[in-house]
């Protein structure tokens, strides 16, 4: 698998998970969610509402930054404003449908760590911090997490610090998609990208991999999806998280 292929799969997988009419938010450092929301709005989720840090509502940006997902360009084409503080409030009162979030570590319950590797007070690595996730993940209806790498250091049995927990529904990685089970709240394997395998995922996951009861074949990216994604993100901002 190339990074390019992974980025496209992750982005399309994100888009396919957005349902029509949903209120959808992404925060900082989220190039793939930003593209995915535009893609979903051009396909099956035309009435989804796009919310972001600069506060534009339903922006249709002409381009996407390679270094920031808080860029004011993300207000382009929007008619009205809904600033970040309002988005947090929306989630807190149970009215935000989807938040795209990530973590340095994600555990088998879909909890995340963006605080530190090691201990909080004497960290081996101080991480940037969970941004809005400690407030959003427990209150948003559907948390969709992603990782740009799929390995045992990132997908762990035990987090060094639990920065945020709550309503994680999916975790998308370069290899496939986990979905949380309603039964016990554990992540289970929901789909495998065509270029990967259950075995590869098992080998590279720090928590026990079991198949989700809804395990499904992930349909290959369609021509339409690939063309649209390319026209939305002509410069390739969706690849910018991959070094």
């Amino acid at each position: 698998m190339s990074n390019i292929q992974a980025a496209d799969y992750i982005t399309v997988a994100m888009a396919r998970l957005i349902q029509d009419g949903e209120l959808v938010f992404h925060g900082v450092a989220s190039p793939m969610p930003a593209i995915a929301i535009q893609l979903a709005k051009k396909l099956h989720a035309k009435k989804a509402v796009y919310l972001n840090i600069p506060g534009g509502v339903d922006a249709e940006p002409s381009s996407f930054s390679f270094y920031s997902s808080a860029d004011p360009v993300l207000r382009e084409g929007g008619v009205s404003d809904f600033p970040l503080s309002d988005i947090f409030d929306l989630s807190a009162r149970g009215a935000l449908d989807v938040a795209f979030l990530s973590g340095a570590q994600i555990d088998g319950y879909g909890r995340l760590n963006l605080s530190a590797i090691g201990s909080y007070d004497k960290p081996k690595v101080r991480l940037p911090g969970g941004a809005g996730s400690a407030a959003l993940l427990p209150t948003v209806k559907r948390g969709i997490l992603w990782k740009t790498n799929h390995d045992k250091r990132s997908l762990v049995e035990k987090l060094d610090i639990i920065t945020a927990a709550g309503n994680t529904e999916y975790v998308i990685t370069p290899l496939g998609i986990f979905k949380r089970s309603v039964k016990d709240g554990r992540l289970r394997l929901f789909a495998v990208f065509p270029y990967s395998s259950v075995e590869e995922i098992e080998e590279n996951t720090g928590f026990k991999v079991e198949k989700h009861e809804e395990f499904t074949e992930f349909p290959p990216l369609t021509e339409e999806e690939l063309q649209l994604i390319q026209s939305i993100d002509q410069d390739g901002s969706r690849y910018s998280e991959f070094k």
Binding site: V28, P54, P83, V125, P128, A134, T139
Partner: protein, 261 residues
């Protein structure tokens, strides 16, 4: 009666150990000129309040001017970690009061409302409350529900960088306001740096910040650079990358610069 001062004068009122909130978000519309002048004037032990910080916080860390940060995210997004902030925390020279961005806002709201705490719906399942001490719990007297609360966060100064201001402190932000208007209301005092200063009777737009909340106004063209102040200018990516490669040289250059007057 003009509130306009030079950048040096505006920064001179900031004490060592001050608690400062910076407007903008990530690399966008942060008061970088002000931060650079803080460094030139050798200010020490500053604490910074920010939802998502980047160059503003990391520069102060690189210059050893930073004591603690109340923030939700400190980093350069796709460009990488805030290395100086990170090392400072790892070396226990800087205290990370980690917040959710939403809880920074909650603490600022308590300050705005003149109360000592603000309830928030969040942090369920998170270890941050016990690790940071920035979240406690009370029982709602109406519903009995255990509720997370955040202590008031009252900046000594909020510093925002805007597009247009006048001599009386009225200030206009073109486009994304981020958390600036909340920070302005929450602060003890407010300093505005601006790309343009116009006459008070020539407003063609409605400034979001009323002048009476503002202590001083500074003309600071390109005052958010190398971050963005859209639509006036975008992020100077090369300058940011150069900073990340060699922050020491960057800080040395800042110290040698003459501040604009």
């Amino acid at each position: 009666m003009s509130k306009q001062v030079t950048l040096q004068e505006a920064v001179s009122v900031i004490s060592d150990g001050a608690l400062l909130a910076f407007g903008g978000n990530a690399l966008h519309r942060s008061p970088i000129a002000f931060v650079k002048e803080l460094i030139r004037q050798g200010r020490k032990n500053l604490s910074v309040i920010k939802t998502a910080g980047a160059l503003d916080v990391d520069l102060l860390a690189a210059a050893k001017s930073l004591e603690s940060v109340y923030g939700g995210y400190i980093g350069f997004e796709m460009l990488g970690l805030a290395q100086n902030y990170r090392k400072g925390v790892q070396n226990q020279e800087i205290i990370a009061h980690e917040h959710a961005c939403a809880s920074v806002i909650a603490g600022l709201r308590a300050s705005i409302y003149g109360v000592s705490f603000q309830p928030i719906n969040g942090f369920q399942g998170s270890e941050l409350p016990e690790l940071t001490g920035q979240v406690k719990y009370v029982d709602c007297p109406f519903t009995g529900k255990k509720t997370a609360v955040i202590p008031a966060i009252r900046p000594d100064y909020t510093v925002i960088h805007v597009h247009i201001a006048d001599e009386q402190g009225n200030a206009y932000i073109d486009g994304a306001v981020f958390e600036d208007l909340i920070m302005v209301r929450a602060a003890e005092k407010v300093i505005v740096t601006a790309e343009k200063i116009i006459s008070s009777d020539s407003w063609a737009v409605r400034p979001q910040v009323p002048g009476f909340l503002v202590e001083s106004v500074v003309l600071a063209e390109h005052g958010a650079a190398p971050g963005s102040c859209e639509p006036f200018y975008s992020v100077d990516k090369e300058a940011v990358v150069n900073y990340l490669k060699d922050p020491e040289s960057y800080v040395a250059e800042v110290k040698e610069d003459e501040a604009y007057v």
